[in-house]
Symmetry: C2
Subunit: 311 residues, 2 copies
């Protein structure tokens, strides 16, 4: 165990892989690793790249990683999506191929399942990001699918959230108003070579004028990730957002909110596990059957389970 | 309280509205209402309508409700999306307008926020569906945004999940493979009048041939919701799926899974609340600050909170 951490701290990528697996599997050893490594985290800048299916966010993630590499920075990538090309080692685009990235010792790619047992983003995503952070990557990019809840979750995990849009699905705009825009720190119109890109940029900019007065207005950038275009401007915008977070005190506020959320959601998971252990399976099954048969409402059933744990 | 339930059981829509508000606000009265009404639920068929932004699922939901109405059935609609036109009373399409639906005493529309305090679908969605069910609606349609996690959640809430796709975003197909298709009971290609609709139908059908042998293969239907086309076939497909659930024993199995999930997630919420009450705010704040400052890892912090509740 100590030697694993030692090798990790020496920069051994196999040790990194093993630590992540332990953390991901939520083993006791994994928690021990976290306890040892967490104090070394907090240096990396975490970036969430999110957008609907087909928005090209995997290609964009790869191209963004390449842009950071050209600037001499190291990059960890967490692909939180079973269908991500990262998972399958597929070709990402014309210019950026997975192979180029995975052969680069300054890049580390890890894909992981997107949800825990009871729904919601697996709490271990935060842990995996913390491990990559402690390993010393300058940037950790979290790529996630989503056009809904997911994005809001990822906004909690990442310091800068990049929302990827693409032209051709114009009626998205309406749906975006509701709150998705609120969580985006940088807006990207990818596939900028497609018709409609400029219209989409204008629409997004018009939408942003509705932001509350005094709030930071996220920039809207155009990229063509498959050809590596617009990526330097995107990397700049991310760095600018980071600088803004630091100078405004927002970074500290954000970290406190994220930590609270993380601690409470882990506590919730621990307690659920404890209930399950305190309840014989027959008893749980009997409660569930009564609810399924509509003889008992689910709140009363849950109350009787929760009554097993007392303050 | 008793008179509220009485009026509810007499079919008073204002009583319905009030009960839903109480349930949604998670008050003690709300839980009392649920306790009284839950045994009367279990008769309605619940339908989840889900799809990405711009897929036209709100219009489709309205048109589907109209199709059920023409057959003499009553319909409750829960719009789980702050950007849904249902929320704003906006025009849904050329043929179906919100007004037509909201003036119809056989239809009841309710919109609600999509998430609880700690993320994930608010557990009260199931409760609101149960209340509408107990009120006597033949169908309860849950409309939700999503191209990710959300759909999987809604698949738990609804007996039949309708996944709405639309032509023009061809690269969606790749992303769908991963699991979204697994939760769809009926696939709809909406905007069937747009170019590419037939190609998308073929692509979806090709994808479905990859389903495991012996499993039910969901039908792929074409609709043009704005013109009311294809809705009768969709209503038929939903009824067929329901008949399949009943005859195969799948309905019973599904209800048991949903009940278990519901009971455990409510129990988890109760316990979290209990921890919060057992922990002075200064103490929680101090733990959170230590985590934010990376002096303590979140698992250790969560453990120390959870230690307050014992079996």
């Amino acid at each position: 165990m100590d030697s694993l951490i030692e090798r990790f701290l020496e920069g051994d990528r196999r040790a990194l892989a093993r630590v992540i697996s332990r953390v991901e599997n939520e083993t006791a050893e994994g928690r021990e690793c976290l306890r040892a490594l967490y104090p070394r985290s907090g240096r990396a800048h975490s970036i969430g790249v999110t957008g609907g299916a087909g928005s090209g966010k995997s290609t964009l993630t790869g191209a963004l990683a390449a842009a950071f590499r050209r600037r001499g920075h190291t990059v960890g990538i967490v692909a939180v999506d079973p269908s991500s090309p990262f998972t399958h080692g597929a070709i990402l685009g014309d210019r950026i191929r997975m192979q180029d990235l995975t052969l680069d010792p300054g890049v580390y790619v890890r894909s992981m399942a997107s949800r825990g047992a009871l729904g919601g983003l697996a709490p271990t995503i935060d842990d995996v990001v913390a491990v990559m952070d402690a390993f010393g990557f300058d940037y950790v990019i979290i790529e996630t699918v989503g056009a809904g809840q997911d994005e809001v979750e990822i906004a909690g995990t990442a310091l800068t959230t990049v929302l990827v849009n693409n032209p051709g699905t114009g009626d998205d705009i309406q749906a975006m108003k509701a709150g998705i825009l609120e969580i985006a720190d940088v807006l990207v119109v990818n596939k900028a070579d497609h018709p409609g890109a400029d219209v989409l940029v204008s629409q997004l900019q018009a939408l942003l004028t509705l932001s509350p007065a005094g709030s930071r207005r996220p920039p809207v950038l155009k990229t063509t990730a498959t050809r590596g275009e617009g990526l330097d401007a995107l990397a700049d915008a991310i760095d600018e957002h980071r600088a803004y977070l630091e100078s405004s005190g927002e970074l500290e506020r954000q970290r406190a909110i994220d930590s609270r959320h993380q601690v409470l959601s882990i506590a919730r998971a621990i307690l659920l596990e404890r209930i399950r252990q305190a309840t014989p399976e027959e008893e749980l099954e009997s409660l569930v059957q009564q609810v399924a048969a509509r003889r008992l409402d689910p709140h009363s059933a849950a109350e009787s389970l929760a009554a097993r744990l007392r303050a």
